[in-house]
Chain length 343, copies 3
């Protein structure tokens, strides 16, 4: 479904100072470099400034600092935070170009008579809702999704196709869980006994706050005893593993392929880069940024940026450095010996 | 579903020496630090000893070494292995609080007439069982699960919702496969030819022993030729990738986000930490422990603990160390030169 | 389903020089080391040469260099590229041993009247095809698969069970998407605002070329604006995450557990080893090989092999080296001081 809007409609709805002809028509929101005259684009990252002059975009959303540079080339919307403006524009655009889900229960869906489903909720084809589940107002549940017994989905929450929400999991309002994510699977808990592993049944639950997003094929394990808790506004990308009894503070963002081991607490407003690993039973303060692929093996008590990643290189250089690294301790001893001799 | 039990019932069933009033009622199994007077908790890790005195738990499961410390504060069950006791308690608790699956085939499930399904097996909604599959006694198959042709599921095995078991895969008895796991997908095999990749059809199978657990959204690839074999009692966490023709020995435990490349053999009683990677075509001895995020790039012939992870630090320190690391080989040459001069 | 063939049939169909009795019967394609007299095996990697003499295989596919060694032990097929020969043999074998999917729409599948489905396409049980989707000739769609509105699947493309293809995604011809993969989920895009995250609706699409393979439970995110583009012949293994607006050139191969962050461009004919991570907004040239677990944090302009991985060791050695590494910069300063003094 295509949409179109005039610049006047856009700035009328979303604000900003419009420079240029309000009647200009736009039919796409797109990147600067491949924009056409009917595209509205944005410049948020100064790294892309050089694309501005060359862009064919019909209109560019810019910060006040780029007002002149943008106006020289054509229409512009000037706003203090172009990235946020762009975010709101994408939301409005999506609303207008995507069909709203039909309210009601698809005839092929199986809703247990013991479940409560709001009248305006939308339950997709072949979805299964078990007894005791409570599905709030305006909830959307995709095809092939599974909502186990006694789960609670707050108003406005959306589950993509084939999301699995295991029993007793609770989601706040306006959450969005993407395709294939699993909430409330068993945590990894076994007691060793005589060379074998004895299963620890996972008796806790998963609880999500409001406005949480969980990416495709990510997994949030239920608590062993006690719960796994994801705070309000937390955003989790694809293929992320959150172990049992983890607690994540509000508005923390976690990029793809991250693993957080069990019983760890992560503060609010943290950012974990792609591929980060966090050990179990540790604690990370608020406002901690961990850069991509870093393995956090002990608690972090102070806000700040943390890193730990082997720098890549051409293979031959890496091999030489890695070989030396394997004897790094011996190298330090040699330096110590030299220092002794010299002193 | 809530359960309750008296301490007398618990110790009567699971053993241990009960200190305190056998008629005390318990309605939750929980962690020491958030326990209430109706919670039974345990102390297995001495790291948590300081939580013991302060805990509000109605009863604490402890080892003989903590008998005094536990008895001072109230009721206790003393047992040589509190963690194992706790595991068995969770099993008993789960049995009592979770509804048993209904035996029989859900009316919406599709079971090919050429499949054999034990009379007491439970087949969930919208499940698909293809021809030639053999579903053993007491097997539970979740909603939206798929069992391909000629698969064998041993007695007591459970598949969570939307597990996929591709054709010819065999599972032993009492296995548990969690949501979204894929057993028997194609391994990654291609022959290069003139700048393109020619598919190697994966003709082998996946075979799981008894008592194997596979985590949510994990993947076990079928063999190229010959089989991928997972030994008895192996426990695999979420989002783990096991390549084609891998063999894993009995009672090995593999934490989340691990990847094992094709044709590698891992011994029995090994433990792989979260995020570990294992190269293809190598061999790991029995009783090897690999700590989290280590990349194992050659065979390990000897039991022991192996590690290899860039230590994380605040970003500024890491940058300085990483930059030096990129010239580590040159630094070694400089030390060598100093040694020469000095000698 | 078992198959059998004579050596004459095999070499008649696939070529090569047959040494030995053309009437010898073969009933399995297998590895050298566990072959029986009715197995046909191959030797492509000289590392496995020592298995040749001892193998019980009824026939071995070898390169001309191994003609003598193979002929001494029995029947052989000599061909310039034994691995490619083996690949084609597996394809022929699979064709003969696996039932072809039934053309037509399974009675339980839901195909929107506004979707176009080729007459010979095979749509599995409980599959959902939304309006506007175009399903090409000979396409196979597995059970529980989901194809969103306005998707296009080119001729001969196959989706495994419970693959999800979100709206507007296009796949070329002869693609193969394995179980649980998600194409066209939302990319991870949020604008920060006052300590919260504002969703950037992902308005772009995913476009796959011809002959693309995507592994089980892998995720390819749709573009934010503009598209995520996977070139012809690209092969992607299991549990791989491809971020929004990534572009991957033709015939690149990506092993399991790789993560590619958003807006990165990867060239043609590249190979990424298992567990590799690629940062966002960078560019990788054609013919780049990145070895396993390497984190690529900046653009690579030149073909070649790149690495960066902390070498593993026994835990005690690793701890000593890692501790020294944390002070590596200081060690360099000490070496510099020694050099100054000495000069």
């Amino acid at each position: 479904m295509r949409a179109s809007a005039t610049l006047g409609e856009i700035s009328g709805r979303l604000g900003g100072e419009l420079i240029g002809d309000a009647s200009t028509g736009i039919d796409a929101v797109g990147p600067l470099d491949s924009a056409t005259p009917s595209t509205i684009a944005f410049l948020a990252n100064p790294l892309y400034e050089k694309q501005l002059a060359a862009s064919q975009a019909g209109c560019v959303i810019v910060a006040p600092a780029f007002r002149e540079a943008a106006a020289i080339r054509g229409a512009a919307i000037v706003t203090p935070d172009p990235y946020l403006y762009f975010a709101r524009l994408t939301q409005w655009w999506a609303e207008r170009t995507r069909p709203a889900p039909l309210p009601g229960i698809h005839p092929t869906a199986l809703v247990d008579p013991g479940a409560e489903v709001a009248a305006d909720a939308s339950i997709g084809a072949f979805a299964v809702i078990e007894a005791g589940a409570a599905i709030g107002a305006g909830v959307t549940i995709g095809a092939h999704a599974f909502v186990g017994r006694d789960c609670v989905l707050g108003a406005g929450t959306r589950l993509g196709p084939r999301v699995t929400v295991m029993f007793e999991t609770t989601l706040g309002e306006r959450c969005f869980v993407q395709c294939g994510a699993v909430l409330g699977g068993d945590g990894f808990g076994f007691a060793p006994t005589a060379g074998r592993w004895e299963k620890i049944e996972q008796l806790g639950r998963v609880r999500l706050g409001d406005d949480v997003e969980i990416g495709a094929n990510s997994c949030i394990d239920r608590g062993a005893t006690g719960d796994t808790v994801i705070g309000d506004g937390v955003k989790i990308d694809n293929l992320v593993q959150i172990g049992h009894n983890v607690r994540i503070g509000a508005h923390t963002a976690i990029a793809g392929c991250v693993g957080v081991a069990g019983s760890t607490t992560i503060g609010a407003h943290c950012m974990l880069g792609g591929g980060v690993g966090i050990s179990g039973h540790i604690s990370i303060a608020d406002h901690v940024v961990v850069t991509a692929a870093t393995q956090v093996t002990r608690s972090i008590a102070k806000a700040g940026v943390y890193s730990g990643l082997f720098p890549f290189d051409d293979n031959a250089s890496w091999e030489k450095n890695a070989a030396t690294l394997r004897n790094l301790h011996a190298l330090r001893e040699r330096v110590r010996a030299l220092e002794k001799k010299q002193s």
